[in-house]
Symmetry: C2
Subunit: 449 residues, 2 copies
């Protein structure tokens, strides 16, 4: 009998944990990703703000799966899934497409940024989903200070040094806190014509409080910490319009404000991969409002027990008040659960029969967000922390998670270094603003980083 072939779409937390959870020697696993690396997304904001290098939070997928001789990695883009014939269509660049047959399929394609029906904002307000996003934000932020240093008009300087962060979930809060630290501390003493500390960091949130998914007491603590750092917190305001040098925000129906600002950073909404829609159209499954697939209690696709959807692409709401949040922990647990489920079925020889296996259960390990140096909020097992202790917990937990991805020592050293020197050494602007000597053409520009 040929090996059972599991195809995994996506090398994020869900896909990677699934791939590493297979133990049977007769299971061949093929992981497909558009990137050659697994990205530790929770720390992406540190790359965007120059605290860490891209390589600190990204590890080649091949090296993460090296020891598993039955694990294959394919660099490519999944453009379609044929549920009937059990095939995945993969494009490997340059227009070539291949069909890959599976026995079991795990779709863990994740989510991208959502601009709430304003795709034109994507250009003006970059989100934070990939290393390219992070280095783009890093470049824009650092260039704003450079341009302000050369500018004479006070209005232009003010607009250049105003940074609007849209969305006060953990990413927005962490980004705003890091931007405040950059302007108040990291860049102190580095400019002669401007004072970087005069930068305005605006954190805009539509809900009535920051970190709406956290308990109210932690939202208040987070707001206090942000304001101490000099962040202007605007809850109850939504974005109405974004232009290259300004943003219009609105509170309620009547109150409107235009803020001159060159840099808008988007941390507001997510939208699941378009593969979710494709899967729902081809099956009995339902698509939710943000493009996620409503999955069965065992994370499978309705009517397709051999197909699983996990992580940010899945809407899992069984026996819960609301669907599970888009957290790494959820995706990792689902990945391991599905791998075990597939292997249990195989060992019982009943690929089509899923009644034996208990439904997926999420073990809530808590939720945390950091706000600059030495401040954080955390909720773990019903306990609520804030301040230095929460920050140390945040540090410990993130290093433990990173451990699985090989980079713990290096990140620890980099952070220790940043902490002691109060510096951020990864403050690089690459691809210079004007390069006459060797003009960047399309092909070389695409290959940077």
């Amino acid at each position: 009998m040929a090996d059972h072939h599991v195809v995994i779409v996506g090398g994020g937390f869900g896909g990677l944990c699934a791939a590493r959870a297979f133990r049977r020697s007769a299971t061949k696993v093929t992981m497909i990703d558009r990137r050659n690396h697994h990205l530790f997304q929770p720390l992406l904001y540190q790359v965007a703000t120059g605290g860490l290098s891209p390589a600190n939070i990204a590890t080649p997928l091949r090296s993460l799966l090296r020891g598993r001789s039955k694990a294959h990695v394919r660099l490519g883009e999944v453009t379609g899934i044929d549920l009937e014939r059990r095939r995945v269509l993969v494009e490997a660049g340059e227009g070539e497409a291949n069909a890959l047959e599976y026995d079991s399929l795990i779709v863990a394609a994740g989510a991208g940024q959502s601009y709430f029906g304003h795709p034109e904002w994507a250009e003006l307000a970059p989100g934070l989903k990939s290393l390219e996003d992070a280095t783009r934000i890093r470049r824009n932020v650092l260039l704003a200070f450079e341009r302000a240093e050369l500018e004479s008009s006070p209005e232009r300087i003010r607009a250049l040094l105003t940074f609007a962060v849209v969305g006060a979930g953990p990413t927005g809060v962490e980004l705003a806190g890091a931007l405040a630290e950059i302007s108040k501390r990291t860049l102190a003493g580095e400019f002669r014509n401007i004072d970087p500390a005069m930068a305005t960091i605006l954190l805009i949130e539509g809900a009535e409080r920051v970190l709406p998914s956290f308990p109210e007491v932690l939202s208040r603590k987070a707001t206090d910490s942000l304001e101490q750092l000099g962040v202007t917190v605007r809850t109850g305001w939504i974005v109405e319009h974004i232009e290259p040098m300004s943003i219009v925000i609105r509170a309620g129906e009547s109150e409107r404000q235009t803020v001159a600002c060159d840099n808008v950073l988007w941390a507001a909404g997510v939208e699941a991969s378009p593969l979710g829609k494709a899967l729902c159209e081809a099956s009995a499954a339902v698509l939710d409002r943000i493009g996620r697939v409503v999955v069965e209690p065992d994370c499978s696709l309705a009517g397709r027990p051999e197909v699983f959807v996990i992580g940010d692409l899945a809407n899992y709401g069984h026996q819960l008040e609301r669907p599970l949040p888009g957290l790494a922990a959820v995706a990792m647990q689902q990945g391991r659960y599905v791998a075990r489920l597939i292997e249990t079925r195989l060992s019982e020889g009943t690929v089509q029969d899923q009644r034996q296996v208990a439904p997926f259960r999420y073990l809530d390990k808590g939720n945390m967000a950091t706000i600059g140096r030495k401040k954080a909020v955390a909720e773990i097992a019903g306990l609520r922390f804030s301040g230095l202790f929460a920050w140390l917990t945040w540090l410990f937990v993130h290093l433990m998670y990173l451990a699985e991805f090989q980079n713990r020592v290096l990140v620890l050293v980099q952070w220790g270094w940043n902490y002691v020197t109060r510096n951020r050494s990864a403050r690089l602007i690459t691809q210079p603003p004007a390069d006459k000597r060797s003009p960047p053409d399309a092909s070389s520009a695409r290959s940077t980083l």
Copy 2:
């Protein structure tokens, strides 16, 4: 009396050492660079081969000059120098240009790649001068293995896994050694359809031996080490033609060979910044064959004692058999010399009189090149080393140099890590080959890294 204003063009080794050598409080220094960072070029090949991250070898100029309140940094491109009116023309992107007046000018604009009259090769055979170059090479090399893994034709696999390095100076030798290590060691066990160790690394050199600027005995040692690593060394061959999937090389007049090969890396020649030509056209100075300015014994421009040219842009040949080589040590010593010279003149109040000051003297600190793990060749104070001891010396000297640029601890840890794990953690392919979900447009592609 207004401050004496020194303008420095270029934040490489020469410009940076000059800027940091000014001690008088009444000297205002403005450094202009197209990049916001100083780049430790000798280790660029390690970024190109995934051993180090860009931030490990690049430090923001502002942070290197932070403590000096009279030191200004301007991000911009110097597009012209008006020697008569003592003005430098700076473009800061977006088409704006400003004129900056100087009392003394230090031009340290460095050199770029030379393709010996074949500029069309630049696209096909990237050189190694900037972080963008390095990450582009890293991407191309890693993608070649990824594509070979998906390829079925043995000829295409062979072409994908053939890497031709043109030029066997220190950069070419180090690059070839690192590529051999990647294919033989780093990637071992990571692929299922190909064996990365079957990659061919071709090192092509026009001269009769590798490292032509080193003593012959060290060239032999280097060749031995390279061949042990599996590099195919071809001395006495020159490149006749490069196409997207092949390279034509020639030995003498008649022997010609076409090698199918997707990746050609250029480490063959340098060409000084076009500012050299502009300076010579406007002064009595002579331009040499590779675009360098033949300078006076005190590094000044003929007839313009207030203008200095240092580093890779200068041809300094006084009392020497041949001009000083393009080494960091030369640029650094010239930078410090010129800063001292300017301050000496100022303290004597004789800006126009240079007779008091002794001409520049280069203190030769030796020359070294590393060849993969634990192997190197070095010539220091007339002594010649090779093997492990030379490698340890290389390591020590480079860490000492890096110390000036703040990154020593981090690089040491990263190297220790790579050494112990035999891994290269910075093996990232960013900007995926095909990205349908968020198509890379010109503006976002330019801002990567």
